[in-house]
Symmetry: C2
Subunit: 200 residues, 2 copies
């Protein structure tokens, strides 16, 4: 049977989830050479509601491009975490932005303060999505760090390449620490603020 890996990126409207989905899809499809379908859905409730973007990866052409049973859920706010966690497979990977997700539904989640890092390290909240992409490339083998970097640099506005490359690296570094803590202690921990600021 064909390999299929389902990613859902979720949060609120202004968090850049669509761009994230496109970059991730391009990284995997164009730079890593797999089959990818990337989808956004809107309903009548879309105005001001939560936003989601899905990326489906396969080793063959994707007939059904909608997530059914999610392998990786990124939740950038509490509402989307509550709403979409039930769709995550039992062995699935949950990554939350701990700036906004306070009640985490499983101790197995990776909790990283994407937005806080964006604010404090870069003074630019808009790069939180790029930091999250960096973390994602560290936490899942479905996309390589190199492909993510190529795809980010191809999509971001000219003149912001350094900012975005640094944001990616900060995300990878924060994820690496979260992973090490998880391996040492048996569960991922929130990373102390000091570590984040010194992390690369």
């Amino acid at each position: 049977m064909a390999y299929r890996y389902e990613i859902r990126l979720s949060g609120s409207g202004g968090q850049g989830l669509i761009l994230m989905g496109i970059i991730l899809a391009e990284a995997i499809g164009i730079y890593d050479g797999k089959y990818v379908a990337q989808t956004q859905s809107y309903g009548p409730e879309a105005r001001g509601g939560s936003s989601k973007s899905e990326v489906i990866v396969s080793d063959e052409e994707i007939d059904y491009p909608k997530a059914m049973s999610v392998d990786l859920l990124l939740a950038m706010n509490q509402k989307s975490c509550d709403e979409f966690y039930p769709d995550l497979k039992p062995e699935g990977l949950l990554i939350v932005d701990s700036t906004f997700v306070i009640q985490v539904p499983t101790p197995k989640a990776f909790q990283i303060s994407f937005t806080r890092i964006a604010r404090e390290k870069f003074k630019r909240e808009v790069v939180a999505n790029i930091i999250a992409l960096g973390a994602l490339s560290q936490l899942t083998p479905v996309v390589s760090a190199k492909a993510i970097e190529s795809a980010v640099l191809a999509r971001v506005p000219k003149g912001t390449e350094k900012l975005n490359r640094d944001a990616l690296r900060a995300g990878r570094s924060a994820a690496k620490k979260a992973k090490e803590a998880w391996m040492t202690l048996g569960a991922p921990l929130e990373i102390p603020k000091e570590d984040l600021l010194d992390s690369y």
Copy 2:
């Protein structure tokens, strides 16, 4: 049975088809309040190949977000016109950018020089996709001109609002002329260059 309307936007990599798909989906889903799913797909052949973006519209939640039988095909280059025309329903609507599509597979197609208008009227080839969105809102009732304008203005970079609003209007105006010619003469005609430049 539920209403379902399938739109495929196609062309080459740099023509802004993904942004077009997102704007169109947001216009229909957020501003016009219907159910919409918007998809991009990539395969191992994606590098440098043709690009497509799909928007599915329904009056109920969309279970299968991939186009099967296309109601509206926009082809921004010859290759995508050749490749995707067979998926268009017999009664479907074909709109081509006649700057690049020379061999049109049916006399019922609307042929409008989106890229030529962008170059000659705006000196900015990048707005060809926005001109095409304007034309689309004139040629299909699936999206309103008002919703398209709101969605475009919400997505384009700050400072480019006037350019993009003018591009939308130029597209609507060119489409109106193409429609009038079609109604008068029984078939859509290529619009003379002079008319395009005076069109609004």
